[in-house]
Symmetry: C2
Subunit: 461 residues, 2 copies
């Protein structure tokens, strides 16, 4: 198999097609973009048909539709199910983008001398998902598809994949497969390919602290009533101790502790704390005592405030004591923490530390369970060989700090292992302003994926 | 002197004139309203001319103009200088208003069976300032003005009166007076008139905490870099100890401590903690240990967060670690704290408690010094007699928690004492949604003020 000539011949079209897809602002978190999200699902349907699927359906769900596509060449052959998502994160803070988030531009960067596409969703996950569509085009156009393939592309990943569980439950037969293939993660670098073998779980909550029943003049009331912003800050500060351990009782009870050997193995991955700090322009790293940076963001659970607001936030000064203050707080979880249990523990603890002078409301948003993939499965080995074919190197198995909660769901509902072949880089700024995806990475993904099909079909015999 | 018949005859016009003034959104904090602020100054000029001033000028300053007006009947007679402001607080949060803030409506409330005017600035300070314009109209229309009068109405009070110091310095002769009269405070209740004898000072700062140089994905980086929102919360939490004392070193060094006798005297003012809590719908009051509610909000300095923001604050969830987090923080000060010194102490302390993993910037906004009026002055005694004439009761001298920083400035620049005859109520919701001013209070002010002129002229002989 040599995928390169076809890709070389069609690469301009492959890039332009992705750019068209990136122009649609499919922000699932904001109801104002509902029509764009739906328009994107129709766009995906057309792309799958063009790439060679025999059947493509836009499947209605309680939320945004899921695009299902398939090409069944022989029911006796193994089946690969490709998962991806067509929705994107909100682009805020919009003023920090160098170019509008939904007007894709190609720019060269130090890491991407071949150019990178700058747009919201360029990497997460439109770009990475579209690699699979183009890989299918390669396989069908060249008559090299060695097995059956199914696509399941959803529109609610960035808001917790709420409809996906429902969809899996109701379509087990349709979705039956031998392995699930996902590109929604990254690799260590262009020179060091890696396969993600672990993902963290997530519990995302919103909290509201209410003090007086209306905004008050801070001169007339200041000092005599509980200020909900000060109280919220106090309560958030209490969630970590002086060693940056999380203080929620029971939070660490089920945390999988890695052995010394496993931690030593992890520490071999190439990493420079100095470069890391320099890239983020920070004078010092920060995190749980007793763990390294790579451990803190992969094998350890964390708690971060993702947003906070209350009182007067406009220009100038307003001497007000707000009635309410709010925060969005998420916890990244590790095996074997149960996200629903952790959400309950958070809620109970947060309510328990509130002083009597305020009222507190905790609203769970969504969550998901952590996941670890075995590296001796046929799926992992097929992926590893695919990278060897196109990178000339064996990829490194890597635990990631991110969460794709649906990976655990797939295992439960569909009884399948997921293989996480990510081609993005940490520096791609996903979820941040100026998200981008290297053209080299995009084309390398399209080049590598067909090799996975070849090896998986061969090894499954 | 009997001011009642004239007021009874003209009260509908007095109310309608105020309503017209309230329709102009003179929000000094927001540059978007610049034209409206200037339009309001022209409106005030016209009102002062109509009320009987011989000379009215719109005086340009480095900021918004100051309206100066005068009626000099005899240079040998004493002169009263009336101060007020025509700018208003921003109306945020706008969605909590029951009617639009700049479309005044009259509604009856439990405390205001005669009706109250609901609009931003109804009480603070357009309504209270306009009482003085109408009091002048009464005095000139009825030929009862017993002394000279000057008006100085500014447009930057809600943003720190930055141009006022410059104006005073450059116009000492023009502004020469024997007493300054201000209605920008409240009274205990409609049955218990009071004169404000103390005001708190103010130091208002804005803080910015910067973590990584861009927003980051909380999965990939969570736990390994300092989250500026968590750090900001930690730092804010550290500003109070477990007894709600402020922890800034040196903060209390110059605080005037009241004697047991003075505190016993203060405790005699009618007050029900139960009613207070009920009115604010709070289960428990909150404040510095060892002091009562009325002490906490008048004779004690305080520190409150007036606004906080950072990260994702929109609908739904975004798993982001923000690059920056912000807060607006103000401190109410008491005699003899120096606001510039306190601002410096805050800045040094806040910078010193920042961990190395973040950068911190403190930007002072504005400030002012606390003030105490002696109750044996002619001005205070004349005001006291005026209330006796119209309320049939001697007013109670009261220390207020609010700040009118310019009162200390007047004493320094113009060598005059200020008399604070406020007719508002704590429940008027100034600086809050649904600000209002009772029609009874408005007319009672117009009724009472001319009596002050009478007594002040007589007692000054």
């Amino acid at each position: 198999m040599n995928t390169k000539p076809y890709i070389e011949k069609h690469k301009d079209r492959f890039i332009n097609e992705l750019i068209e897809l990136l122009k649609i602002p499919s922000i699932s978190a904001d109801p104002a973009y509902k029509n764009d999200v739906i328009k994107t699902s129709e766009h995906i349907k057309k792309s799958l048909e063009d790439a060679g699927c025999d059947l493509v359906e836009i499947c209605e769900t309680p939320g945004y539709p899921i695009v299902y596509g398939e090409k069944i060449i022989n029911p006796d052959l193994p089946t690969v199910l490709v998962y991806g998502h067509y929705d994107v994160q909100p682009p805020d803070p919009i003023n920090l983008w160098d170019s509008p988030p939904f007007e894709p531009v190609i720019k060269k960067t130090e890491l991407h001398p071949e150019g990178a596409i700058f747009a919201r969703g360029a990497c997460d996950d439109k770009g990475q998902m579209y690699m699979h569509v183009k890989a299918l085009e390669y396989l069908t156009a060249n008559n090299e598809l060695p097995c059956n393939v199914k696509f399941m592309i959803e529109g609610e990943e960035e808001v917790g994949s709420e409809s996906l569980g429902w969809f899996l439950e109701n379509n087990r037969e349709k979705l039956a497969n031998d392995v699930i293939l996902i590109s929604d993660t990254g690799m260590i670098s262009k020179e060091v390919p890696s396969i993600t073998t672990g993902l963290r779980g997530l519990s995302y909550v919103e909290v509201e602290v209410t003090g007086p029943n209306r905004d008050l003049h801070s001169g007339l009331y200041g000092g005599a009533v509980a200020n909900p912003i000060n109280i919220l800050c106090d309560m958030i500060a209490q969630l970590h101790d002086e060693n940056n351990h999380i203080t929620i009782p029971g939070f660490y009870d089920k945390v999988e502790e890695l052995s010394k050997e496993e931690r030593t193995e992890m520490a071999k991955a190439p990493f420079s704390q100095e470069d890391y700090n320099k890239a983020l322009d920070i004078a010092q790293e920060h995190g749980e005592k007793g763990y390294t940076t790579n451990e803190r963001n992969s094998i350890r659970p964390t708690l971060d405030v993702n947003g906070i607001w209350g009182g007067y936030t406009g220009e100038g000064a307003k001497t007000v004591i707000a009635s309410k203050a709010y925060a969005k707080i998420s916890m990244r979880l590790v095996p074997d923490q149960d996200w629903k249990e952790i959400t309950d523990l958070f809620q109970k603890h947060f309510e328990s530390i509130a002083p009597k002078s305020v009222k507190v409301k905790v609203s769970p948003h969504h969550g998901g369970t952590a996941y670890v993939t075995p590296i001796d499965s046929i799926g992992y080995q097929a992926a590893s060989k695919a990278y060897e074919d196109t990178f000339g190197k064996t990829p490194i198995p890597q635990r990631s700090g991110g969460s794709i909660p649906i990976v655990a769901l797939f295992e439960n509902e569909l009884n399948s292992k997921s293989i996480l072949m990510g081609f993005g880089l940490d520096s791609d700024a996903i979820h941040s302003p100026n998200e981008h995806f290297g053209i080299w990475n995009y084309l390398k993904g399209i080049e590598t994926i067909p090799h996975f099909y070849k090896h998986f079909a061969t090894m499954s015999k």
